[in-house]
């Protein structure tokens, strides 16, 4: 199965999706940008769900993000999945520019995961570009994934990173619900597996925000019939100061 045909199908899907989304877009100033007042952002979340390998699982993540100005920000995070015995840390740098009503974010990320149960160390590098408008965003990028078990290591050839997200309300609204699909999450980059999700947030005030996600992460996709792999729910809070 050659990649060329798959890329053609993916591009066609994306063009059609983009056409659909662009027709809906309205002007907005994105909320992933520096608001001019709060330079720091911290979040904590609790994740629980079920996985075919582990069964019921629970864990939590914490993040800290610092905005230097309207363009540059850095982000660090820690992932602790207790049932899975999976622990990860990440660091991310992001550059933001606005072109007319488009917000464009270019980012580079380094991620380390330790799968204790499977005696595996994983190191991921990713560069991505995210395009945002009022009701949708699309991410495209490349990941390099290296893993080591025992004395053997393997670096997978560069893998396409893709994601799309559409929301019911504009991002400036104090609440929102969205749908997403992507082959990555805060602490993993997958190959050709798609994570389908429904997310939401509720802003209590400019400093406090509640957020959550419900994710279905099937194994196999596109040419393979998808099959149950993992479902998770995540709920957390963000504090800005």
């Amino acid at each position: 199965m050659k990649l060329r045909g798959s890329i053609q199908r993916l591009l066609l899907s994306m063009i059609l999706s983009l056409a659909a989304s662009t027709a809906l877009a309205q002007y907005y100033s994105g909320d992933h940008t520096f608001d001019g007042e709060h330079k720091n952002e911290a979040s904590a979340s609790l994740t629980s769900g079920k996985n075919i390998l582990i069964g019921p699982c629970i864990g939590n993540t914490v993040h800290y993000k610092h905005f230097f100005n309207n363009h540059w920000s850095v982000d660090g995070g820690v992932n602790m999945q207790y049932s899975k015995e999976l622990y990860g840390v990440k660091a991310k740098g992001e550059y933001h520019i606005q072109v007319k009503s488009f917000h464009i974010f270019a980012s580079g990320e380094f991620l380390y995961n330790r799968y204790v149960k499977y005696k595996t160390n994983e190191i991921d590098g990713n560069i991505s570009v995210r395009f945002e408008r009022g009701y949708w965003d699309i991410t495209l990028g490349e990941s390099l994934i290296n893993y080591t078990i025992g004395e053997s290591g393997y670096t997978e050839p560069a893998t396409l990173t893709f994601g799309a997200h559409a929301t019911l309300r504009p991002r400036t609204n104090y609440w929102n619900v969205g749908l997403l699909f992507r082959n990555y999450d805060d602490f993993y980059y997958e190959n050709w597996n798609i994570n389908w999700g429904l997310d939401f947030y509720y802003k209590f005030n400019p400093t406090w925000k509640l957020f959550g996600e419900f994710n279905i992460r099937p194994a196999g996709s596109m040419s393979q019939l998808a099959s149950k792999y993992e479902t998770t729910g995540k709920v957390g809070v963000i504090y800005r100061w």
Partner: protein, 358 residues
């Protein structure tokens, strides 16, 4: 608000149409979300089958046989002409290979192509039986009893003597993603019964284990991983010399131009650990239609090229492999060529291989 809902619904509908539109007929568009054939269902069925017939799969070779060989092919994607599969088995029979393994995507999804596959295997079975299956006559059995035996198997084996019709070709496939779309599993299991099974080959005092895993959905699934963890198949105390595993979905990606593995990350690491835990000698993978041969954590991983006419219209010298297990347990790999050319439907009809249709 009303407009937003309407627009969102439109966007979702357009996205769904785009996914469906851009999926070819070889895959099920709805399968992007959730397949209609579950690996768990297949494994449940396979475990039941195994509970009845598991022991029948084991080979206990006569003392005169000190080494043996087997063939492995992958992704034959049979459509009209099953010639490459026929050629593989003919090579195996000519070389006295003990059995033939296939790594999935046997036929190209459509029911009519499974009939061609079935017919090819039926023809191969006749040739195989003529060479290896002999009428058993002794003081207790006459020609009228109609019992037959395989001259390579020890007489103490359970079901050593069987009627002619009960002898089947030693062809061991795993199920691939193209074998399960468009209700393919019902066609596959009608012929092969199981997608998750194991057997041993006894040579002298040594046992070699052969494990066949169902990864057609890009995952082993809940029941299969549980069965593996609970040693549901591997429930005997044989001391194993070599272990060979066979499954469809690849782990290693031979190059940037090829599809990546579709196991979710933790499952990928689970599987790599499990193969090491089993002291696997060689793990065979298909799906990606490209060759890769590497050692990882003590296990040799061989990812197989496809053997179909589309990828290799002129054949090739290295489309399948033969593994020879020597007397001392060492394994020698040899790449074997397939060179048959695809025949047209008309040619196959005129030669009587397929039935003429209106």
């Amino acid at each position: 608000m009303k407009n937003s809902i309407l627009y969102s619904l439109m966007a979702t509908a357009l996205l769904a149409v785009s996914v469906s539109f851009t999926s070819c007929e070889k895959v099920s568009p709805q399968g992007v979300l959730m397949g209609n054939t579950s690996v768990d269902d297949r494994v449940k069925q396979s475990l039941i089958y195994y509970s009845y017939h598991g022991e029948d799969l084991d080979w206990d070779l006569t003392d005169s046989i000190e080494e043996y060989s087997f063939l492995v092919g992958s992704d034959s994607h049979i459509t009209i002409d099953p010639g490459r599969l026929t050629e593989m088995i003919e090579i195996g029979i000519e070389n006295d290979d003990l059995f033939y393994c296939h790594l999935g995507d046997l036929a190209d999804t459509k029911p009519e192509y499974y009939y061609n596959t079935q017919q090819a295997l039926y023809n191969a079975t006749r040739t195989w039986k003529r060479k290896y299956i002999k009428l058993y006559i002794d003081e207790f059995h006459s020609i009228d009893d109609g019992m037959y035996y395989d001259k390579r198997i020890t007489p103490s084996t359970k079901n050593y003597l069987k009627p002619w019709d009960d002898w089947t070709l030693p062809f061991y496939p795993v199920v691939g993603n193209h074998d399960i779309t468009h209700n393919g599993w019902s066609l596959f299991c009608d012929q092969f019964k199981t997608s998750f099974y194991e057997f041993t080959v006894k040579v002298g005092d040594s046992y070699d284990r052969f494990i066949f895993l169902d990864s057609a959905n890009g995952t082993l699934g809940d029941f299969q991983t549980d069965a593996i963890d609970e040693n549901t198949l591997l429930n005997d105390d044989k001391v194993i010399r070599n272990t060979f595993t066979f499954t469809h979905t690849n782990i290693f990606r031979p190059s940037l131009n090829e599809f990546a593995s579709t196991y979710c990350r933790e499952e990928l690491y689970y599987l790599l650990n499990k193969l090491s835990e089993w002291n696997t000698t060689i793990a065979f993978w298909g799906h990606v239609h490209a060759w890769d041969d590497r050692m990882f954590n003590g296990v040799r991983h061989i990812t197989m090229p496809s053997m179909n006419f589309v990828d290799h219209p002129n054949g090739g010298d290295d489309l399948i492999v033969r593994i020879t297990v020597k007397k001392d347990g060492t394994c020698v790999m040899e790449r074997v060529g397939l060179h048959s050319k695809e025949m047209s439907k008309e040619d196959l009809e005129s030669m009587g291989y397929i039935t003429k249709t209106a």
